[in-house]
């Protein structure tokens, strides 16, 4: 058995120390060691986007990262979007526009959209489609997701603070 390696990282603003086998993927570490099961495992190949999280502010596939690579990093998962029991405007928008059905792809879409809206607070439809093109949904047919992100952009600019309502990374 390969000796576990120590890692320290911050997830949703909380510091964690753990010892992990090198082969443990970041998504499995988040789900199984930290109990943060909001991030989902879909394809384990990087194609579906269900495992998307923010690493040091960038949306990445946590199934294609090893936990040991996140040593010293700041991670944000879907659990970090809401604050004090209040949904983030993105989550609120998805609810209002029915941007989810089974919800399996949703955390990945939320994190990808979060990165998009931080970089492009008023995205065009083409920019939304480009940014979310790497996330697959089998239920909705995508139109409601597009509407949800448009609504979220409106909500966030109304709040005048793109990071409002969630843990900042």
């Amino acid at each position: 058995m390969t000796p576990p390696r120590p890692i320290r990282l911050t997830v949703n603003g909380v510091s964690y120390e753990a010892a992990v086998e090198p082969r443990t993927t970041l998504v499995d570490f988040l789900r199984q060691e930290l109990g943060l099961t909001g991030t989902h495992v879909g394809c384990e190949q990087g194609a579906c986007g269900a495992c998307t999280i923010l690493l040091n502010g960038q949306a990445v596939r946590s199934c294609l990262m090893l936990a040991v690579q996140a040593d010293g990093a700041e991670v944000m998962t879907v659990e970090g979007l809401s604050r004090d029991g209040q949904l983030h405007p993105l989550q609120q928008a998805f609810m209002e526009e029915h941007g989810l059905q089974c919800g399996f792809c949703t955390p990945g879409f939320l994190m990808s959209a979060y990165e998009l809206l931080r970089q492009h607070p008023q995205p065009t439809d083409d920019e939304i489609k480009e940014a979310l093109g790497g996330n697959l949904c089998r239920c909705t047919g995508y139109m409601a997701i597009l509407k949800s992100v448009r609504l979220a952009a409106t909500k966030l600019s109304a709040a005048h603070d793109p990071g409002a309502g969630g843990t900042k990374t």
């Binding site: 090198p22 990087g46 596939r61 093109g133 790497g134």
Partner: protein
């Protein structure tokens, strides 16, 4: 679908990485951005004894201008290249090719060196490197050497690097004046692996004829394919829709054995190569006229 067991090392310098590679040669695999290697590990298609993670080798992350060209450290992410205003204005072909790679989330981790060294037949960067005569710098136990892109790609997922060598840098020369470019591919969905793609440059002379042209295909065979026969059709001739169609036709004649798989048949890849060559030449020539 979980990775098999492996030892893991995270060196902080190139020298340390090379030393590890030399000690564990047959068992070791380099981890760069992980966007190609991790799927292989997750599916257990590769079982290295030791993974050497270059993620902490800070000296490999850079993007700088040199003599009108560009030097890029191997661990520079594609996202860095994509977001660089310098790349967009000085190396628009590199910028355009980068946007075709996967999705933003992949580009946030995937590296320039990783793509070049992994040598996937459907990858954009290897074909681009061949099209612009990029220089690839590798470092091994015996020291450093530079390999021209034309000699770098040997076969399917195989480069001219020795097993103990690490790719550290790629240099992209700037395109000559009056040179137009195009990078185009066809994939089933936006962001999927290309079934076939083409990287094309056209330089127009003062007489309006094609002074130079480079036509490189990807996805059509085990390595990037430079279609010199098609280049010869174009060079010295006056640009026209017919000329591009003739070049496209020639490309489909010289592709030897396009891959036939679940994504596309050999016949379809051959057909795509013809169409993409024709379109890319037209686009490159239009850009050259704009640049003139």
């Amino acid at each position: 679908m979980k990775p098999p067991r492996f030892e893991y090392a995270a060196p902080t310098t190139v020298a340390e990485a090379v030393s590890l590679l030399q000690q564990h040669e047959s068992e070791a695999k380099i981890l760069a951005g992980g966007q190609s290697l991790m799927p292989l590990l997750n599916m257990r298609l590769t079982r290295p004894g030791l993974l050497i993670d270059l993620g902490r080798v800070a000296e490999l992350r850079y993007l700088r201008e040199t003599d009108g060209g560009l030097a890029i450290g191997a661990m520079t992410t594609k996202r860095t290249v994509e977001d660089s205003a310098m790349v967009k204005s000085r190396q628009p072909l590199l910028h355009a090719a980068t946007l075709l790679i996967g999705h933003a989330q992949i580009r946030n981790r995937g590296t320039v060196g990783g793509s070049l060294a992994h040598a996937d037949p459907a990858a954009e960067y290897p074909a681009l490197a061949v099209a612009v005569d990029a220089q690839l710098r590798v470092v091994g136990p015996k020291g450093e050497r530079t390999i021209a892109a034309a000699e770098f790609y040997v076969s399917y997922l195989t480069t001219a690097q020795e097993p103990t060598e690490i790719l550290t840098e790629v240099r992209f020369p700037a395109l000559a004046n009056d040179t137009g470019w195009s990078c185009a591919e066809v994939a089933r969905r936006h962001g999927d692996f290309a079934m076939t793609g083409a990287v094309v440059t056209v330089q127009l002379g003062s007489d309006g004829r094609c002074a130079q042209s480079r036509i490189v295909l990807f996805g059509g065979g085990p390595t990037p394919l430079r279609a010199q026969a098609a280049e010869q059709v174009v060079i010295g001739q006056t640009p026209s829709e017919q000329l591009w169609a003739q070049a496209g036709q020639r490309v489909s004649e010289v592709i030897e054995e396009p891959l036939s798989d679940v994504h596309a048949s050999a016949e379809y890849r051959r057909y795509l190569a013809q169409v993409l060559t024709r379109r890319a030449l037209a686009e490159a020539a239009a850009r050259a006229r704009g640049a003139a």
